[in-house]
Symmetry: C2
Subunit: 201 residues, 2 copies
């Protein structure tokens, strides 16, 4: 049963992904060729096609798993931090971003539909989930997916600004800013009556 355990497979796949990530730091995704990847990985080009259908497949097979891991870390952070009624624990979100700075900057820069949108959607889903459990019972006067999109966009913008500006201030500070910018509005809409605006359609 030593089929999937073959060291050569692990070694080759890791070499290919490492090479890919290295190239991704220099060039645009679309500008990277399979030849370059195999070259940088010190692996025959035919070997590449032995493991992956194409460039997208390599990305999907690896980044996807990476995101799963990151998402796993983000999920509990989001739930307990973003909308906690009293304390500001949003700090841990910015700390998470700082820890994986390279990864997130890569996502922001190479973005496109591949990584950026994927992360945005994932965050929006997580947030919507969290909001739903918070509201549980009384329904929100405003579409939850809309609120989730707003929160995602706002938080992402803050994190992006922070990372792209080389983290000129502490995670605590950023969390406090996020707190002051976002919470009042969220409380405002939470207090709205269901019929606060009748012209919706």
């Amino acid at each position: 049963m030593g089929r999937k355990t073959d060291r050569r497979i692990q070694r080759t796949r890791k070499a290919l992904f490492d090479a890919f990530m290295a190239l991704l730091l220099e060039k645009e995704y679309e500008a990277i060729t399979v030849t370059e990847i195999a070259d940088q990985a010190n692996v025959g080009r035919a070997t590449f096609y032995l493991h992956y259908r194409d460039k997208d497949d390599l990305l999907a097979s690896n980044i996807e798993a990476l995101f799963e891991e990151v998402a796993g870390r983000i999920r509990p952070l989001l739930k307990q931090s973003i909308l906690a009624r009293d304390t500001i624990q949003g700090r841990i979100l910015f700390e998470e971003a700082a820890r994986n700075k390279d990864l997130y900057l890569l996502v922001f820069r190479q973005g496109g539909t591949l990584l950026y949108d994927r992360l945005q959607r994932h965050m929006a889903d997580l947030i919507a989930e969290t909001l739903e459990t918070l509201i549980m019972g009384g329904d929100s006067p405003i579409e939850i997916s809309l609120l989730a999109s707003y929160l995602t966009g706002a938080l992402t913008a803050l994190v992006k600004w922070w990372l792209e500006n080389d983290m000129p201030c502490s995670a605590d500070y950023m969390a406090a800013v996020a707190q002051h910018l976002i919470r009042p509005g969220m409380e405002q809409v939470a207090l709205l009556e269901s019929d606060w605006y009748t012209q919706k359609e």
Copy 2:
């Protein structure tokens, strides 16, 4: 002086750009070939290279101008609407988005570094500009570029949600939501003392 007026040039360039936009609605930017563009435009492939260096050049020469035009419309809207103290004129922003729905959806979808980032940066600059004139004199307790990034991200998220969900509510409604979500936070930070948070560094 009949050099730039040559109808053939105008006709060819328009045909090429129209073909490009048409293809952009079906396929990803990177998947579109010069051959396809020339084909769709009913123009020789050599003619394409007579006008543009490559695909990026075609995009830069046209979309850029288009953005200039859009930006020109957005500028006054932003200034008078987003941060007007009393009335909600943010409606015109959503109306603008609705008018150019196809264009903005294209930007959101094809995004990448090419269009999306460009628009984001432009908006952030415009907003920062506006904020600076608003604050004029007393300096902001929070980095203006940070506030501008937040506003850009938040507004973009709302517009994106609205367009991607086929505008399920009126522009008025969206403007009201934006108002309730964003303004309280902005007023909150505007009231902060310069030393409200000492751990910035």
